[in-house]
Amino acid sequence: MTNETGESRVRLAIDALSHRYGDELAVDDVSFGIEAGELVALVGPSGCGKTTVVQSIAGHVRPTAGRIALHGEDVTGVPPEDRGVSIVFQRSTLYPHMTVGENVAYGLDARGVAPARREALVSKHLELVALDDQREARPTELSGGQRRRAELARALAPSPDVLLLDEPLSALDRTLRIRLREEIARIQRETGVTTLFVTHDQEDAMALADRLVVMNEGRIVGRGRPRDLYESPPTPFVASFLGRANTFSATVLKSNPLTVRRGDETVEIRGVKADVSDDSTVTCHVHPEDLSVRPAESRATNPSIRGTVAHVADVGRRYDVTVRIGSGEDLVAEQVSSPPAVDDDVAVAFPGDRLHLFDRDEGRRVPLSAV
């Protein structure tokens, strides 16, 4: 999975990339690689620097420092037209003065593909995105989803070494987004094109990508398979960003079995020990679906925290129960059925192995292990 395993398989390598706009460091020492055929998502909130990374890879921004390599060859100074990197932007860049077919053929013409072969390639790629019958249409006649698909066909037609998708779904409605996401997954499987998918939407990223690279404030703050990052987030930011912010702070009383104190409440997490010094303050994160809400008096095996129900939102397929566990500290529990009433005193329980602990000062993950 990592680019150390086999140097020859790495299609795209970003090495110590940094970029400054004036005084502002937009990208700070970013390094990652993509193997041939992989679909990697670069994900992070708006303004985290991911678009600058993409623009550097495409060659539209010259980075202040660092190196971009394709097939192991340094392309940092190579102009965009000589890189073999296709790009699809958030907003449509189809040429309004050309038909859909001419748009798809555009990149082929640049490479001097013979007319017969060009027609065949255009047909093949229009079929791939199910737009064969829109070949003579103008981009303005297409729907939003069709326009996205036409752009994909145009980007794929010249068989790029790397396909960059820069927030291709962000301007779309949720229904259309999910449909197009599945379409992109299918097309990537069928073509096997090495793809970097850039998005601020963690759901899109996790649904599509083999691997995630999470950025925040110009730096990489996490990388790995979606499930690994979700189940063992390396920082509180990754935990909140991939799931939903759901944290409380506590003080470690004992590290084996892990016992923490919040206010006047002591919570023992049986069967778990933590690699942390006593008396250190930690930030605890639990994903909302790992929490369950019970009547306050009930005592079960799972560790729990007392609180009062502040709000119950009926989301249709589940209830989001907000429990106030202290001044300004709320936990949200996702409950499938029988929600409590507002103002009920409740206990919020969680399986001990679903707790994530982070060092308060440095934000690093505290390793937990079964006893």
């Binding site: 495409a58 060659g59 539209h60 102009p79 965009p80 037209e81 890189r83 990197v85 296709s86 790009i87 932007f89 907003r91 860049t93 040429y95 309004p96 003065h97 555009y106 990149g107 640049a110 490479r111 145009r154 980007a155 010249p158």
Partner: protein, 272 residues
């Protein structure tokens, strides 16, 4: 987006609130339209055909139709690339360059003419060399072209710049990533997409060039163009003698604007 983004089409609904601007603006419209209509109604009384067939009128028309297209072409060939640079590139001294481009636009034409005389006049180094080579830069058709270009070129630069500016830069980036160099991208993408604005700029430049008077009077009082001829006729014969030539100039201007409207956008495009 689409329909959901079109906000506030309930125009008729608000008419009461628009009465004040409508009345104020109406005055200006009347002030613009009234002279135009008076002028057209006056043309009936003048012997247009006879006046236009005099040798003087013929020469003026010929000179104007020779010089204005040349000035427009020069302004376009050099101005459109400049407009593209101003729209896309950022460089040290860009503000200065923008100032230089606007200068001839805000400069009174007679001052522009005076400036040209200090630059290429008969007794300047440049003017002397040119005159010695048989191509005098003042008092010649070339002088007319120089005056027209100086005064009219900013229009095509400013309008084309706005046109390039409204083309999403990502369309050019996509073209680069699809394998085209900067020049090919300019030809394939930027130029066709900014076409309407460029045509509007060319039209404005042509209108300004063929109507140029102040700078031409200073740089090339001779040979006469239509505007200078109108002036000569006016001081010698009064308003009625100039109506035919003024009508001809008006006709040429409106014809060009109409022709361009057919292919591109209306020249109100100065407003971006």
């Amino acid at each position: 987006m689409n329909r959901t983004d079109t906000v506030g089409s309930g125009r008729s609904f608000r008419v009461p609130g628009r009465l004040v601007p409508a009345v104020l603006g109406g005055f200006l419209l009347v002030y613009f339209a009234f002279p135009f209509l008076s002028f057209l109604s006056r043309t009936g009384t003048a012997n247009v055909a006879a006046r236009l067939s005099t040798p003087e009128a013929q020469a003026a028309i010929r000179n104007s139709l020779l010089t204005a297209p040349v000035s427009t072409a020069v302004a376009t060939v050099f101005g459109v690339p400049l407009a593209y640079l101003l729209a896309r590139a950022s460089f040290v001294g860009k503000r200065l360059v923008e100032g230089i481009v606007v200068l001839p636009l805000v400069l009174p034409p007679v001052v522009g003419g005076a400036m040209l005389l200090t630059a290429v006049g008969r007794f300047t180094p440049v003017g002397r060399v040119a005159a010695a080579a048989g191509v005098p830069l003042t008092g010649s058709l070339l002088g007319v072209v120089l005056a027209q270009t100086f005064v009219a070129a900013p229009f095509v630069v400013i309008t084309a710049r706005a046109g390039f500016g409204s083309v999403d830069e990502r369309l050019e980036q996509a073209s680069r990533s699809l394998g085209y160099g900067p020049l090919a991208t300019f030809w394939n993408v930027s130029l066709p997409l900014a076409r309407g604005a460029i045509l509007a700029g060319i039209t404005l430049t042509f209108a300004r060039a063929i109507g140029e008077f102040g700078a031409t009077m200073m740089v090339a009082y001779n040979p006469r163009t239509i505007p200078t001829r109108i002036w000569i006729d006016f001081i010698s014969g009064g308003i009625d003698t100039v109506v035919p030539l003024a009508l001809a100039l008006l006709a040429i201007t409106l014809a060009v604007i109409t022709a361009v409207q057919r292919f591109g956008r209306i020249p109100t495009v100065v407003d971006g």
